[in-house]
Amino acid sequence: MTGRRVLVVDDEPQILRALRATLRGAGYTVDAAATVEEALTAAAAHPPEAVILDLILPDGNGTEVTRELRSWSEAPVIVLSAVGEESEKIAALDAGADDYVTKPFSVDELLARLRAVLRRRTDAQSEPVIEIGELRVDVPERVVTVEGRRVKLSPHEFDLLRVLAQNRGKLLTHQTLLREVWGPAYQVEAHYLHVYVSHLRRKLEPDPSSPRYLLTEPGAGYRLVDPTSAPV
């Protein structure tokens, strides 16, 4: 039996060995690469369904791999980042990476994130009506309900919620959200985003001070999750 194909990219040989054995044990088919060049060659030879990617590589960085990969593949990317690599992490997420785990990570956490990004990929982004827990977003009608009760949102609030809902579970960086909702001209105005997020929380969350749907990823961005399903 061959499982779903995962490409692991890390220049530390022992981490690569451990990840390869782990993922094989979890039923995946594993390709391994230690450099940017090897990663892109391997991805082209055997298109992966997901990529686990170290941020700092000997001949470049994970952001380059992500950007290159994104030009022809929708395969989700999880970056492995260490403390002190925050700016590289954000750059990779902005370039289209889906999520990150911080080294040293637990095997369970990594496997859970991998399952989540693979599951998400099967959800069509183009669903007209998105249901997340008690939250229901009707995209063509621009109607939002929580527990069956209709919520009035401003146009920007609705667009922000729509982008988050269409990428449910996925970490979206500040820059990505600003670009998607306000257009490229507003990329620097991060405080717009924080204000709208707090508006959304007040209107959608049962308890806005401890959000369950719209989660903050400190220093990175936001993600919308289903509080009734297992945590990612």
């Binding site: 022992q14 060995r17 451990a18 054995a21 782990t22 094989r24 044990g25 979890a26 260490a82 369970d108």
Partner: protein
């Protein structure tokens, strides 16, 4: 006073000389027209001694002319009334000439003084701007200032005024209202007030600019030093955290996988995981050991057990220890050294291991032994990519890693090697050129062997 007496004597002499000259010329020229010759007495006196004496000479000349040459001679009366007029004209001419000459002299003196002042200021400005620290120049400046303002000596101090040294008068150096420092001149030495008023503010302004520049320079240097230590600390922290975390991540991932009940691991995977744990935990152990050595070396708390050894034996030992007998050639010979063999073996092992790592496959590493009169030298030569000149020293910095280099470890090997070399009284340096391979040289002091015991 002496100068006045000298002036009077000179005046008398000048008048006497002209009077005698007229006496000699009298037979040939009408005496009345000779009176104008007294100008030659008035002029030099005016130039050298000033207006007062020149006026004195003018009057004395006319009296002498009247007494000796105008009839009736040897009286102050004049026979011809025309002669009175001539005498008056001569006197007036002499006075005007004296005044003009004295004025020209004053101007020349003032111009010279100003020229000296501006020359000094210009010179000071050049020297101070050239970047010499103003504090070091103050003595020299004082001497030159004394010359210019006409006092026997002068001393400059920057900063707020203090009690003047004994027998010294303080002259403030100020720019506007701000005090720059003080100029001390010997008490009672009188310098020209106008000069002080003109020159001292200019001097003060110059010194203020120079002192300010020095201050800024010191500040900039300190800031730069701080910035550098900060950069070093950040790089260090990042390197340590990366080098410790990577093997830790490997170990933890492998253990996590082995303990995870939901994974279906084959025997082969299981072996892989155990091996990964083995390799990474050993790497951690080495790294921790290296960090410990480095900190002990930097603290100077490494005990060195000196014994006499053959350097060649230590080299062979190091090569054996690395299991690299086939890829290292040893040439030459070296005298005995008195060192801690364990530590020198460590230095050599680090150098040879490095050389092997950078050597193209199939090319040997050469260890060449030589000696000077005082030192035994081991050179470890590889045929790898070599080092750029700016890297030759930097490779010995802890955590130094060449850009994009992933073959090296934490970047501690050479730092530790240099530390142990120094602890054993030796030196370690790089001699590489890019494209020609790298050479690392270790020099250790040779043992003075008594003549009869030489091998």
């Amino acid at each position: 006073m002496r100068r006045v007496a000298e002036g009077i004597a000179a005046s008398a002499f000048a008048v006497a000389v002209v009077t005698a000259a007229i006496e000699l010329l009298k037979p040939y020229v009408p005496v009345l027209s000779l009176g104008v010759l007294y100008v030659f007495a008035v002029l030099p006196i005016a130039v050298v001694y000033g207006l007062a004496l020149a006026l004195f000479v003018s009057v004395a000349s006319m009296l002498a002319f009247n007494w000796f040459h105008l009839p009736p001679v040897h009286t102050f009366t004049l026979a011809d009334s025309e002669n009175w007029f001539a005498l008056a004209v001569y006197l007036a001419t002499a006075v005007v000439v004296a005044e003009l000459a004295a004025r020209a002299r004053r101007r020349a003196t003032a111009a010279e003084q100003r020229e000296r002042e501006s020359a000094l200021l210009a010179e000071l400005a050049t020297e101070l701007l050239r970047g010499r620290a103003v504090d070091e120049e103050l003595g020299e400046v004082g001497v030159r200032v004394a010359e210019v303002i006409g006092v026997p000596s002068a001393q400059i101090e920057l900063g707020p005024p203090r009690r003047p040294p004994s027998a010294c008068a303080p002259l403030p150096l100020e720019v506007g209202e701000r005090s720059v420092g003080t100029l001390y001149v010997p008490e009672g030495s009188d310098s020209n007030i106008a000069v002080r008023r003109r020159f001292l503010p200019a001097l003060a302004a110059l010194l203020a600019v120079a002192a300010e520049r020095d201050e800024l320079e010191r500040g900039a240097l300190e800031a730069e030093a701080l910035r550098r230590t900060d950069l070093v600390k950040t790089a260090l922290l990042r390197a340590v955290s990366h080098d410790l975390r990577s093997p830790l991540t490997g170990v933890r991932t492998a253990i996590g996988a082995l303990r995870n009940g939901s994974l279906h691991l084959t025997d082969e995977d299981r072996a892989e995981l155990l091996d990964a744990i083995d390799v990474d935990s050993e790497r951690l152990q080495r790294l921790v050991g290296d960090l410990l050595d480095l900190s002990r070396l930097e603290a100077g708390s490494v005990p060195v057990e000196h014994e006499v050894w053959s350097l060649e034996d230590i080299v062979r030992d190091a090569v054996e220890g690395l299991g690299a007998r086939d890829s290292v050639e040893i040439v030459g010979e070296a005298p005995l050294v008195e060192v801690d063999a364990t530590q020198v073996r460590r230095v050599l092992a680090n150098l040879i291991e490095n050389a092997l790592k950078y050597s193209p496959p199939g090319t040997p590493v050469t260890v060449r032994l030589t000696a000077t009169r005082k030192e035994a030298i081991v050179r470890v030569v590889d045929r790898g990519p070599g080092l750029a000149p700016e890297e030759r020293e930097r490779v010995f910095e802890p955590f130094f890693r060449r850009d994009g280099d992933t073959r090296s470890g934490a970047g501690l090997g050479l730092a530790i090697a240099r530390g142990f070399a120094a602890a054993n009284g030796g030196r370690l340096w790089a001699e590489s050129r890019p494209g020609q391979g790298a050479t690392f040289a270790l020099a250790l002091p040779v043992v003075e062997v008594p003549v009869g015991l030489q091998v």
